[in-house]
Protein backbone atom coordinates (compact mmCIF):
# COMPACT_ATOMS: atom_id res chain seq x y z
CA UNK A 1 0.00 0.00 0.00
CA UNK A 2 1.30 3.46 -0.94
CA UNK A 3 1.53 6.68 1.00
CA UNK A 4 -0.30 10.02 0.92
CA UNK A 5 1.38 13.39 0.53
CA UNK A 6 1.11 14.05 4.28
CA UNK A 7 2.66 10.66 5.11
CA UNK A 8 5.54 11.12 2.66
CA UNK A 9 6.25 14.70 3.73
CA UNK A 10 6.34 13.68 7.41
CA UNK A 11 8.29 10.46 6.75
CA UNK A 12 11.11 12.47 5.20
CA UNK A 13 11.50 14.22 8.58
CA UNK A 14 11.58 11.23 10.93
CA UNK A 15 14.78 9.50 11.97
CA UNK A 16 13.69 6.11 10.60
CA UNK A 17 12.03 7.60 7.48
CA UNK A 18 8.64 6.16 8.44
CA UNK A 19 5.23 7.76 8.96
CA UNK A 20 1.90 5.97 8.52
CA UNK A 21 -1.51 7.46 9.32
CA UNK A 22 -2.32 6.94 13.00
CA UNK A 23 1.33 6.62 14.10
CA UNK A 24 2.79 9.05 16.59
CA UNK A 25 6.20 10.10 15.27
CA UNK A 26 8.98 12.41 16.38
CA UNK A 27 9.90 14.67 13.45
CA UNK A 28 12.64 17.21 12.76
CA UNK A 29 11.30 20.67 11.99
CA UNK A 30 12.82 22.69 9.11
CA UNK A 31 11.35 26.07 10.01
CA UNK A 32 9.48 27.52 13.00
CA UNK A 33 7.55 30.79 12.74
CA UNK A 34 6.53 32.60 15.93
CA UNK A 35 4.70 35.93 16.15
CA UNK A 36 3.43 37.95 19.12
CA UNK A 37 2.83 34.68 21.00
CA UNK A 38 6.61 34.66 21.54
CA UNK A 39 6.56 37.79 23.71
CA UNK A 40 3.18 37.19 25.33
CA UNK A 41 3.46 33.48 26.20
CA UNK A 42 6.40 31.50 24.80
CA UNK A 43 9.08 33.41 26.73
CA UNK A 44 7.37 32.47 30.03
CA UNK A 45 7.36 28.80 28.98
CA UNK A 46 11.05 29.03 28.01
CA UNK A 47 11.83 30.48 31.45
CA UNK A 48 10.09 27.52 33.10
CA UNK A 49 12.21 25.21 30.94
CA UNK A 50 15.52 26.83 32.03
CA UNK A 51 16.10 27.50 28.34
CA UNK A 52 19.44 28.92 27.22
CA UNK A 53 19.85 28.87 23.45
CA UNK A 54 17.64 28.24 20.38
CA UNK A 55 18.28 25.01 18.48
CA UNK A 56 19.15 26.83 15.23
CA UNK A 57 19.02 30.63 14.86
CA UNK A 58 18.70 30.34 11.07
CA UNK A 59 15.59 28.12 11.16
CA UNK A 60 13.45 30.40 13.32
CA UNK A 61 11.38 33.28 11.96
CA UNK A 62 10.03 35.97 14.29
CA UNK A 63 7.25 38.25 13.01
CA UNK A 64 5.46 41.17 14.69
CA UNK A 65 2.27 41.15 12.64
CA UNK A 66 -0.93 40.87 14.67
CA UNK A 67 -1.01 44.34 16.23
CA UNK A 68 1.38 46.16 13.92
CA UNK A 69 2.39 48.84 14.69
CA UNK A 70 1.54 48.48 18.38
CA UNK A 71 -2.12 49.17 19.14
CA UNK A 72 -1.67 49.66 22.90
CA UNK A 73 0.90 49.47 25.69
CA UNK A 74 0.64 45.69 26.06
CA UNK A 75 1.27 44.98 22.37
CA UNK A 76 4.15 47.47 22.45
CA UNK A 77 5.65 45.50 25.35
CA UNK A 78 5.19 42.21 23.43
CA UNK A 79 6.95 43.68 20.38
CA UNK A 80 9.77 44.98 22.57
CA UNK A 81 10.27 41.52 24.10
CA UNK A 82 10.35 39.97 20.61
CA UNK A 83 13.00 42.43 19.43
CA UNK A 84 15.12 41.69 22.49
CA UNK A 85 14.82 37.94 21.94
CA UNK A 86 15.85 38.32 18.28
CA UNK A 87 18.90 40.34 19.34
CA UNK A 88 19.92 38.09 22.26
CA UNK A 89 19.51 34.85 20.31
CA UNK A 90 20.93 36.13 17.00
CA UNK A 91 17.75 35.17 15.11
CA UNK A 92 18.45 35.52 11.38
CA UNK A 93 14.94 36.08 10.05
CA UNK A 94 13.06 38.88 11.81
CA UNK A 95 10.16 40.81 10.32
CA UNK A 96 9.12 43.76 12.44
CA UNK A 97 5.89 45.80 12.37
CA UNK A 98 6.63 47.34 8.96
CA UNK A 99 6.70 44.05 6.99
CA UNK A 100 3.23 42.53 6.98
CA UNK A 101 1.43 39.29 7.79
CA UNK A 102 3.58 36.23 8.52
CA UNK A 103 1.75 33.80 6.23
CA UNK A 104 2.36 36.07 3.27
CA UNK A 105 5.78 37.42 4.26
CA UNK A 106 7.41 33.99 4.72
CA UNK A 107 6.68 32.75 1.16
CA UNK A 108 7.47 36.19 -0.25
CA UNK A 109 10.90 36.04 1.40
CA UNK A 110 11.55 32.61 -0.11
CA UNK A 111 11.48 30.94 3.32
CA UNK A 112 8.77 28.41 2.46
CA UNK A 113 10.33 25.54 0.54
CA UNK A 114 8.55 22.53 -1.05
CA UNK A 115 9.03 19.30 0.86
CA UNK A 116 9.80 20.99 4.17
CA UNK A 117 8.18 20.63 7.60
CA UNK A 118 7.09 24.09 8.71
CA UNK A 119 5.44 24.91 12.03
CA UNK A 120 3.87 28.21 13.05
CA UNK A 121 2.51 29.44 16.37
CA UNK A 122 -0.66 30.26 14.47
CA UNK A 123 -3.50 28.06 13.25
CA UNK A 124 -3.37 29.46 9.71
CA UNK A 125 0.09 27.97 9.18
CA UNK A 126 -1.68 25.43 6.96
CA UNK A 127 -1.25 28.12 4.25
CA UNK A 128 2.19 26.79 3.26
CA UNK A 129 0.61 23.59 1.94
CA UNK A 130 0.22 25.59 -1.29
CA UNK A 131 3.99 25.07 -1.70
CA UNK A 132 3.96 21.28 -1.29
CA UNK A 133 5.13 21.61 2.32
CA UNK A 134 3.81 19.89 5.46
CA UNK A 135 2.78 22.82 7.60
CA UNK A 136 0.57 23.17 10.63
CA UNK A 137 -0.15 25.41 13.58
CA UNK A 138 0.78 24.69 17.18
CA UNK A 139 0.70 26.91 20.25
CA UNK A 140 3.03 28.37 22.87
CA UNK A 141 4.27 25.26 24.70
CA UNK A 142 4.91 23.21 21.55
CA UNK A 143 6.63 26.23 19.97
CA UNK A 144 8.84 26.60 23.04
CA UNK A 145 9.81 22.92 22.88
CA UNK A 146 10.66 23.25 19.17
CA UNK A 147 12.67 26.44 19.83
CA UNK A 148 14.77 24.44 22.29
CA UNK A 149 15.04 21.10 20.49
CA UNK A 150 14.12 21.47 16.79
CA UNK A 151 11.82 18.48 16.97
CA UNK A 152 8.25 17.73 17.87
CA UNK A 153 5.82 14.79 18.05
CA UNK A 154 3.00 14.48 15.56
CA UNK A 155 0.15 12.07 15.06
CA UNK A 156 0.39 11.25 11.36
CA UNK A 157 -2.95 12.35 9.88
CA UNK A 158 -5.31 10.37 7.69
CA UNK A 159 -5.92 12.14 4.37
CA UNK A 160 -9.00 13.24 2.46
CA UNK A 161 -8.35 13.49 -1.27
CA UNK A 162 -10.13 16.51 -2.78
CA UNK A 163 -10.06 16.73 -6.56
CA UNK A 164 -11.30 19.87 -8.32
CA UNK A 165 -11.90 20.09 -12.08
CA UNK A 166 -13.25 22.85 -14.31
CA UNK A 167 -12.66 26.58 -14.69
CA UNK A 168 -13.89 29.44 -12.52
CA UNK A 169 -16.56 31.76 -13.86
CA UNK A 170 -15.82 35.48 -14.04
CA UNK A 171 -15.62 37.09 -10.54
CA UNK A 172 -15.72 33.69 -8.82
CA UNK A 173 -12.56 33.03 -6.82
CA UNK A 174 -10.72 30.26 -4.99
CA UNK A 175 -12.24 31.74 -1.79
CA UNK A 176 -15.69 30.74 -3.03
CA UNK A 177 -14.43 27.22 -3.70
CA UNK A 178 -12.87 26.72 -0.26
CA UNK A 179 -15.95 28.20 1.48
CA UNK A 180 -18.02 25.62 -0.44
CA UNK A 181 -15.69 22.73 0.43
CA UNK A 182 -15.45 23.50 4.16
CA UNK A 183 -19.21 24.06 4.33
CA UNK A 184 -19.72 20.59 2.88
CA UNK A 185 -17.25 19.14 5.42
CA UNK A 186 -18.50 21.12 8.46
CA UNK A 187 -16.40 22.66 11.26
CA UNK A 188 -14.89 19.32 12.28
CA UNK A 189 -15.26 17.40 9.01
CA UNK A 190 -11.48 17.21 8.56
CA UNK A 191 -10.49 17.29 12.25
CA UNK A 192 -7.01 15.73 12.76
CA UNK A 193 -6.85 15.03 9.00
CA UNK A 194 -4.95 16.24 5.95
CA UNK A 195 -6.92 17.81 3.11
CA UNK A 196 -4.89 16.82 0.06
CA UNK A 197 -5.85 18.88 -3.00
CA UNK A 198 -5.67 17.60 -6.56
CA UNK A 199 -7.07 18.30 -10.03
CA UNK A 200 -6.69 20.64 -12.98
CA UNK A 201 -8.33 23.58 -11.19
CA UNK A 202 -5.72 23.42 -8.43
CA UNK A 203 -2.91 22.86 -10.98
CA UNK A 204 -4.00 25.97 -12.91
CA UNK A 205 -4.24 28.26 -9.86
CA UNK A 206 -1.87 31.12 -9.18
CA UNK A 207 0.12 30.83 -5.97
CA UNK A 208 -2.03 33.36 -4.11
CA UNK A 209 -5.24 31.53 -5.04
CA UNK A 210 -3.77 28.27 -3.73
CA UNK A 211 -2.70 29.92 -0.48
CA UNK A 212 -6.30 31.06 0.14
CA UNK A 213 -7.47 27.43 -0.13
CA UNK A 214 -4.81 25.98 2.19
CA UNK A 215 -5.24 28.86 4.64
CA UNK A 216 -8.89 28.02 5.27
CA UNK A 217 -8.62 24.23 5.37
CA UNK A 218 -8.09 24.63 9.14
CA UNK A 219 -11.67 25.94 9.42
CA UNK A 220 -12.81 22.37 8.76
CA UNK A 221 -10.35 21.24 11.45
CA UNK A 222 -7.61 20.07 9.05
CA UNK A 223 -4.10 19.59 10.40
CA UNK A 224 -2.51 20.35 7.04
CA UNK A 225 -3.48 20.71 3.40
CA UNK A 226 -0.66 19.93 1.01
CA UNK A 227 -0.86 20.49 -2.75
CA UNK A 228 1.40 19.31 -5.58
CA UNK A 229 3.95 21.72 -7.04
CA UNK A 230 2.54 23.49 -10.12
CA UNK A 231 4.13 25.85 -12.66
CA UNK A 232 3.35 29.07 -10.73
CA UNK A 233 5.01 27.57 -7.61
CA UNK A 234 8.06 26.64 -9.72
CA UNK A 235 8.28 30.21 -11.01
CA UNK A 236 7.75 31.64 -7.53
CA UNK A 237 10.64 29.57 -6.16
CA UNK A 238 12.94 30.46 -9.11
CA UNK A 239 12.24 34.16 -8.61
CA UNK A 240 12.00 34.51 -4.84
CA UNK A 241 14.16 31.64 -3.56
CA UNK A 242 16.73 30.97 -6.30
CA UNK A 243 19.34 29.66 -3.85
CA UNK A 244 17.11 26.97 -2.32
CA UNK A 245 17.50 23.35 -3.43
CA UNK A 246 14.36 21.22 -3.35
CA UNK A 247 12.50 18.37 -5.00
CA UNK A 248 8.73 18.03 -5.42
CA UNK A 249 6.99 15.37 -3.31
CA UNK A 250 4.19 13.26 -4.83
CA UNK A 251 1.71 10.90 -3.19
CA UNK A 252 1.88 7.26 -4.30
CA UNK A 253 -0.68 6.17 -6.90
CA UNK A 254 -2.03 3.55 -4.49
CA UNK A 255 -2.08 5.84 -1.45
CA UNK A 256 -4.86 5.15 1.05
CA UNK A 257 -7.39 7.94 1.65
CA UNK A 258 -10.09 7.96 4.33
CA UNK A 259 -12.37 9.82 1.93
CA UNK A 260 -12.31 11.12 -1.66
CA UNK A 261 -14.29 14.16 -2.79
CA UNK A 262 -14.64 15.43 -6.36
CA UNK A 263 -15.78 18.93 -7.28
CA UNK A 264 -16.58 19.44 -10.96
CA UNK A 265 -17.20 23.18 -11.19
CA UNK A 266 -17.91 22.92 -14.91
CA UNK A 267 -20.69 20.39 -14.54
CA UNK A 268 -22.05 22.07 -11.40
CA UNK A 269 -21.04 25.71 -11.86
CA UNK A 270 -19.73 27.39 -8.70
CA UNK A 271 -21.05 30.87 -7.93
CA UNK A 272 -19.95 33.28 -5.20
CA UNK A 273 -20.34 31.85 -1.68
CA UNK A 274 -20.83 33.82 1.55
CA UNK A 275 -20.39 32.28 5.03
CA UNK A 276 -23.05 33.63 7.39
CA UNK A 277 -22.44 34.27 11.12
CA UNK A 278 -20.99 32.67 13.27
CA UNK A 279 -19.01 29.96 11.50
CA UNK A 280 -16.87 29.84 8.34
CA UNK A 281 -18.60 26.61 7.35
CA UNK A 282 -22.01 28.32 7.08
CA UNK A 283 -21.51 28.86 3.33
CA UNK A 284 -24.52 29.92 1.29
CA UNK A 285 -24.94 30.99 -2.35
CA UNK A 286 -24.68 34.80 -2.43
CA UNK A 287 -28.17 35.10 -3.94
CA UNK A 288 -29.69 33.57 -0.80
CA UNK A 289 -28.52 36.46 1.36
CA UNK A 290 -27.98 39.35 -1.03
CA UNK A 291 -29.45 42.58 0.28
CA UNK A 292 -28.28 42.22 3.90
CA UNK A 293 -27.17 45.78 4.84
CA UNK A 294 -23.54 46.26 5.93
CA UNK A 295 -21.63 48.85 7.98
CA UNK A 296 -18.10 47.77 7.04
CA UNK A 297 -16.40 45.98 4.16
CA UNK A 298 -12.92 44.62 4.84
CA UNK A 299 -10.35 43.33 2.34
CA UNK A 300 -7.17 41.98 3.87
CA UNK A 301 -5.65 39.17 6.00
CA UNK A 302 -3.53 36.07 5.33
CA UNK A 303 -6.54 34.66 3.46
CA UNK A 304 -7.25 37.35 0.88
CA UNK A 305 -4.99 40.41 1.17
CA UNK A 306 -2.70 39.55 -1.74
CA UNK A 307 -2.07 41.43 -4.98
CA UNK A 308 -4.53 39.29 -7.02
CA UNK A 309 -7.21 40.04 -4.41
CA UNK A 310 -6.52 43.78 -4.54
CA UNK A 311 -6.58 43.72 -8.34
CA UNK A 312 -10.02 42.17 -8.65
CA UNK A 313 -11.37 44.53 -5.96
CA UNK A 314 -9.89 47.53 -7.82
CA UNK A 315 -11.45 46.34 -11.07
CA UNK A 316 -14.87 46.37 -9.43
CA UNK A 317 -14.34 49.68 -7.56
CA UNK A 318 -12.64 51.67 -10.34
CA UNK A 319 -14.37 54.99 -11.01
CA UNK A 320 -17.16 54.24 -8.51
CA UNK A 321 -17.99 55.34 -4.96
CA UNK A 322 -18.53 53.21 -1.87
CA UNK A 323 -22.12 53.59 -0.57
CA UNK A 324 -22.43 56.51 1.87
CA UNK A 325 -22.20 55.34 5.48
CA UNK A 326 -20.20 52.19 4.64
CA UNK A 327 -16.55 51.93 5.66
CA UNK A 328 -14.35 50.12 3.13
CA UNK A 329 -11.04 49.14 4.74
CA UNK A 330 -8.19 47.65 2.73
CA UNK A 331 -5.18 46.11 4.45
CA UNK A 332 -2.59 44.71 1.99
CA UNK A 333 -1.03 41.44 3.22
CA UNK A 334 2.52 42.78 3.18
CA UNK A 335 4.56 45.91 2.55
CA UNK A 336 5.67 44.38 -0.74
CA UNK A 337 2.02 43.81 -1.73
CA UNK A 338 1.28 47.43 -0.76
CA UNK A 339 4.14 48.69 -2.94
CA UNK A 340 2.95 46.62 -5.92
CA UNK A 341 -0.59 47.99 -5.44
CA UNK A 342 0.85 51.50 -5.29
CA UNK A 343 2.84 51.04 -8.51
CA UNK A 344 -0.17 49.57 -10.31
CA UNK A 345 -2.43 52.47 -9.32
CA UNK A 346 -4.70 50.33 -7.12
CA UNK A 347 -4.26 52.43 -3.97
CA UNK A 348 -5.52 55.52 -5.82
CA UNK A 349 -8.56 53.58 -7.08
CA UNK A 350 -9.39 52.49 -3.51
CA UNK A 351 -8.99 55.98 -2.07
CA UNK A 352 -10.92 57.63 -4.91
CA UNK A 353 -13.74 55.18 -4.23
CA UNK A 354 -13.82 56.32 -0.59
CA UNK A 355 -11.81 53.43 0.89
CA UNK A 356 -9.33 53.54 3.76
CA UNK A 357 -5.98 51.86 3.04
CA UNK A 358 -4.05 50.77 6.15
CA UNK A 359 -0.54 49.46 6.68
CA UNK A 360 -0.03 45.68 6.49
CA UNK A 361 -1.10 43.81 9.64
CA UNK A 362 -3.61 41.21 10.86
CA UNK A 363 -5.47 44.22 12.33
CA UNK A 364 -9.23 44.10 11.82
CA UNK A 365 -9.38 40.33 11.12
CA UNK A 366 -8.66 39.53 14.77
CA UNK A 367 -10.49 42.57 16.16
CA UNK A 368 -7.07 43.98 17.01
CA UNK A 369 -7.12 47.47 15.53
CA UNK A 370 -7.72 49.43 12.28
CA UNK A 371 -11.34 48.40 11.85
CA UNK A 372 -12.78 46.95 15.09
CA UNK A 373 -16.58 46.44 14.95
CA UNK A 374 -19.01 48.09 17.38
CA UNK A 375 -22.22 46.66 18.92
CA UNK A 376 -24.69 45.44 16.32
CA UNK A 377 -22.49 46.31 13.34
CA UNK A 378 -22.37 44.11 10.25
CA UNK A 379 -19.19 43.49 8.28
CA UNK A 380 -18.55 41.64 5.04
CA UNK A 381 -14.97 40.47 5.13
CA UNK A 382 -12.44 38.66 2.93
CA UNK A 383 -10.93 37.07 6.07
CA UNK A 384 -11.12 33.53 7.48
CA UNK A 385 -13.23 33.56 10.66
CA UNK A 386 -16.62 34.96 11.57
CA UNK A 387 -16.89 33.58 15.10
CA UNK A 388 -18.96 35.68 17.46
CA UNK A 389 -16.86 38.64 18.61
CA UNK A 390 -13.94 37.80 16.33
CA UNK A 391 -13.67 41.31 14.86
CA UNK A 392 -14.90 43.27 17.86
CA UNK A 393 -18.14 43.53 19.85
CA UNK A 394 -19.81 40.23 20.63
CA UNK A 395 -23.04 41.46 19.03
CA UNK A 396 -21.40 42.40 15.74
CA UNK A 397 -21.93 40.07 12.79
CA UNK A 398 -19.42 38.94 10.16
CA UNK A 399 -20.10 37.53 6.69
CA UNK A 400 -17.09 35.94 4.97
CA UNK A 401 -16.72 36.30 1.21
CA UNK A 402 -14.25 36.75 -1.64
CA UNK A 403 -12.60 40.15 -2.27
CA UNK A 404 -14.84 40.49 -5.36
CA UNK A 405 -18.01 40.02 -3.31
CA UNK A 406 -16.71 42.38 -0.58
CA UNK A 407 -15.93 45.11 -3.14
CA UNK A 408 -19.32 44.77 -4.86
CA UNK A 409 -21.08 44.85 -1.48
CA UNK A 410 -19.19 48.02 -0.46
CA UNK A 411 -20.57 49.79 -3.55
CA UNK A 412 -24.18 48.78 -2.84
CA UNK A 413 -24.08 49.03 0.96
CA UNK A 414 -25.50 45.49 1.16
CA UNK A 415 -24.36 41.96 0.35
CA UNK A 416 -24.17 41.84 -3.44
CA UNK A 417 -23.35 39.27 -6.12
CA UNK A 418 -20.20 40.65 -7.80
CA UNK A 419 -21.46 39.31 -11.14
CA UNK A 420 -24.30 41.85 -10.94
CA UNK A 421 -21.86 44.78 -10.86
CA UNK A 422 -20.38 46.02 -14.14
Amino acid sequence: MGYTLAEKLLASHTNDGKATAGDIVEANVDLLMVHEVLGSRILDVLNDMDFKKVWDSERIVVVNDHWAPASDINSAEIHRRNRNFVRDQGIKHFFDVDCGISHHVLPEQGLVVPGELIIGSDSHSTTYGAFNAFSTGLAATDSALILATGSCWFRVPESISIEVIGEFQDKVMSKDLILKIISDLGPDGANYQSMEFHGETIDNMKVGERMTMCNMSVEAGAKCSPMLVNEPVNKWMETLAPSKRWKPTFPDKDAEYCDSLIYDIKKEPLGPIVATPDNPTNGKAVREISGVPIDQAFIGSCTNGRIGDLEIAAKILKGKKVRKGVRLIITPASKHTYMMALERGLIKIFMDAGGIVTNSTCGACIGGHLGVLGAGEVCISSTNRNFKGRMGHQNSRIYLASPATVAASALKGAITDPRSVE
Binding site: E36, R41, P187, N191, K388
Partner: protein, 170 residues
Protein backbone atom coordinates in the same frame (compact mmCIF):
# COMPACT_ATOMS: atom_id res chain seq x y z
CA UNK B 1 4.95 16.89 40.48
CA UNK B 2 4.78 13.31 39.24
CA UNK B 3 1.82 11.56 40.77
CA UNK B 4 -1.46 9.76 40.39
CA UNK B 5 -4.48 11.57 39.02
CA UNK B 6 -7.09 12.05 41.76
CA UNK B 7 -10.84 12.04 40.99
CA UNK B 8 -12.30 15.50 40.37
CA UNK B 9 -15.65 16.50 41.88
CA UNK B 10 -17.45 19.74 41.03
CA UNK B 11 -20.28 21.54 39.28
CA UNK B 12 -20.89 20.72 35.63
CA UNK B 13 -20.92 23.68 33.23
CA UNK B 14 -22.60 22.32 30.10
CA UNK B 15 -22.06 23.83 26.63
CA UNK B 16 -23.21 22.90 23.11
CA UNK B 17 -21.31 22.00 19.92
CA UNK B 18 -18.50 23.98 18.25
CA UNK B 19 -17.43 26.18 21.17
CA UNK B 20 -14.49 27.89 19.40
CA UNK B 21 -11.52 29.45 21.17
CA UNK B 22 -12.96 32.97 20.70
CA UNK B 23 -15.89 31.85 22.88
CA UNK B 24 -13.47 30.54 25.54
CA UNK B 25 -11.29 33.67 25.48
CA UNK B 26 -11.80 36.49 22.95
CA UNK B 27 -8.95 37.78 20.79
CA UNK B 28 -9.16 41.24 22.35
CA UNK B 29 -7.81 39.88 25.66
CA UNK B 30 -4.74 38.10 24.24
CA UNK B 31 -2.41 41.01 24.85
CA UNK B 32 -3.09 40.85 28.61
CA UNK B 33 0.18 39.68 30.07
CA UNK B 34 -1.04 37.63 33.01
CA UNK B 35 -3.54 34.80 33.10
CA UNK B 36 -5.32 36.00 36.26
CA UNK B 37 -6.49 39.15 34.43
CA UNK B 38 -7.38 37.18 31.34
CA UNK B 39 -9.36 34.50 33.22
CA UNK B 40 -11.92 37.14 34.28
CA UNK B 41 -13.13 37.02 30.66
CA UNK B 42 -13.41 33.23 30.30
CA UNK B 43 -16.57 32.20 28.37
CA UNK B 44 -17.60 35.87 28.41
CA UNK B 45 -19.73 35.55 25.27
CA UNK B 46 -21.55 32.21 25.76
CA UNK B 47 -21.76 32.32 29.62
CA UNK B 48 -21.23 35.81 31.05
CA UNK B 49 -21.67 34.59 34.67
CA UNK B 50 -19.05 31.85 34.38
CA UNK B 51 -15.99 33.81 35.56
CA UNK B 52 -17.67 35.09 38.73
CA UNK B 53 -19.36 31.80 39.70
CA UNK B 54 -16.84 29.11 38.77
CA UNK B 55 -15.23 27.18 41.65
CA UNK B 56 -12.14 25.03 41.92
CA UNK B 57 -12.55 21.54 40.41
CA UNK B 58 -15.68 22.45 38.45
CA UNK B 59 -16.02 20.52 35.21
CA UNK B 60 -16.66 21.87 31.71
CA UNK B 61 -18.84 19.60 29.57
CA UNK B 62 -19.38 20.22 25.87
CA UNK B 63 -20.69 18.70 22.67
CA UNK B 64 -18.69 18.18 19.46
CA UNK B 65 -15.56 20.01 18.36
CA UNK B 66 -14.72 21.88 21.57
CA UNK B 67 -11.92 24.43 21.10
CA UNK B 68 -11.92 24.91 17.33
CA UNK B 69 -10.42 27.93 15.60
CA UNK B 70 -7.35 29.79 16.80
CA UNK B 71 -4.34 27.87 18.14
CA UNK B 72 -4.29 30.08 21.26
CA UNK B 73 -3.00 28.19 24.30
CA UNK B 74 -4.66 30.91 26.35
CA UNK B 75 -7.89 28.89 25.94
CA UNK B 76 -6.90 25.88 28.11
CA UNK B 77 -4.79 28.18 30.33
CA UNK B 78 -7.73 30.42 31.35
CA UNK B 79 -9.76 27.29 32.13
CA UNK B 80 -6.98 26.05 34.41
CA UNK B 81 -6.61 29.52 35.93
CA UNK B 82 -10.39 29.55 36.59
CA UNK B 83 -9.99 26.34 38.58
CA UNK B 84 -11.55 23.96 36.04
CA UNK B 85 -10.48 20.41 36.91
CA UNK B 86 -11.11 18.86 33.50
CA UNK B 87 -13.03 19.23 30.26
CA UNK B 88 -15.23 16.45 28.91
CA UNK B 89 -16.54 16.69 25.37
CA UNK B 90 -17.95 14.54 22.60
CA UNK B 91 -14.92 15.55 20.51
CA UNK B 92 -12.12 18.14 20.61
CA UNK B 93 -10.53 20.27 17.92
CA UNK B 94 -6.99 19.17 17.15
CA UNK B 95 -4.85 22.01 18.49
CA UNK B 96 -6.96 22.48 21.63
CA UNK B 97 -6.57 18.78 22.46
CA UNK B 98 -2.80 19.03 22.24
CA UNK B 99 -2.66 22.31 24.14
CA UNK B 100 -4.80 20.97 26.98
CA UNK B 101 -2.40 18.15 27.81
CA UNK B 102 0.62 20.38 27.23
CA UNK B 103 -0.53 22.78 29.97
CA UNK B 104 -1.76 19.98 32.28
CA UNK B 105 -5.54 20.31 31.76
CA UNK B 106 -7.13 16.83 31.60
CA UNK B 107 -9.44 16.26 28.62
CA UNK B 108 -11.72 13.28 28.18
CA UNK B 109 -13.97 12.18 25.30
CA UNK B 110 -17.35 10.71 26.28
CA UNK B 111 -20.05 10.11 23.62
CA UNK B 112 -23.27 12.15 24.07
CA UNK B 113 -21.99 13.65 27.34
CA UNK B 114 -23.55 17.08 26.70
CA UNK B 115 -26.99 15.47 26.35
CA UNK B 116 -26.61 13.18 29.37
CA UNK B 117 -25.46 15.71 31.96
CA UNK B 118 -27.57 18.71 33.04
CA UNK B 119 -25.95 22.06 33.69
CA UNK B 120 -25.39 22.65 37.41
CA UNK B 121 -25.28 18.99 38.43
CA UNK B 122 -22.46 17.71 40.62
CA UNK B 123 -20.24 15.22 38.84
CA UNK B 124 -17.13 13.21 39.65
CA UNK B 125 -14.56 12.45 36.96
CA UNK B 126 -11.92 9.74 37.14
CA UNK B 127 -9.40 10.56 34.42
CA UNK B 128 -7.37 7.36 34.78
CA UNK B 129 -10.51 5.23 34.45
CA UNK B 130 -12.11 7.49 31.84
CA UNK B 131 -15.42 7.73 33.72
CA UNK B 132 -17.87 10.41 34.84
CA UNK B 133 -20.49 9.81 37.55
CA UNK B 134 -23.52 11.99 38.17
CA UNK B 135 -24.19 12.42 41.90
CA UNK B 136 -28.01 12.87 41.75
CA UNK B 137 -28.76 9.82 39.57
CA UNK B 138 -25.74 7.66 40.27
CA UNK B 139 -25.32 7.20 36.50
CA UNK B 140 -21.80 6.39 35.35
CA UNK B 141 -20.72 7.39 31.83
CA UNK B 142 -17.75 5.69 30.20
CA UNK B 143 -15.33 7.44 27.87
CA UNK B 144 -12.37 6.40 25.79
CA UNK B 145 -9.38 5.63 28.01
CA UNK B 146 -6.62 8.18 27.41
CA UNK B 147 -3.61 7.24 25.26
CA UNK B 148 -0.59 6.45 27.45
CA UNK B 149 1.33 9.44 26.10
CA UNK B 150 -1.43 11.79 27.29
CA UNK B 151 -1.75 10.13 30.72
CA UNK B 152 2.02 10.38 31.19
CA UNK B 153 1.95 14.08 30.29
CA UNK B 154 -0.79 14.72 32.88
CA UNK B 155 0.93 12.69 35.58
CA UNK B 156 4.10 14.63 34.94
CA UNK B 157 2.20 17.96 35.16
CA UNK B 158 2.35 19.05 31.52
CA UNK B 159 4.84 19.25 28.67
CA UNK B 160 7.36 21.56 30.36
CA UNK B 161 7.69 19.28 33.38
CA UNK B 162 7.95 16.30 31.00
CA UNK B 163 10.69 18.10 29.03
CA UNK B 164 12.69 18.88 32.18
CA UNK B 165 12.34 15.30 33.33
CA UNK B 166 13.47 13.85 29.97
CA UNK B 167 16.35 16.34 29.57
CA UNK B 168 17.44 15.48 33.10
CA UNK B 169 17.57 11.80 32.14
CA UNK B 170 19.90 12.35 29.15
Amino acid sequence: MTGELKPITGRAWVFGNNIDTDQIIQGQYLTLLNYADMAKHTFEIPRPVFASKVKKNDVVIAGRNFGGGSSREEAPKVLLESGIGCVIAESFARIFYRNGFNVGLPLLIIPNVAKLVTDGETVTVDISEGTLSVRSSGDILHGKPLPKRMLDLLKEGGAVAWYKQSVGKH
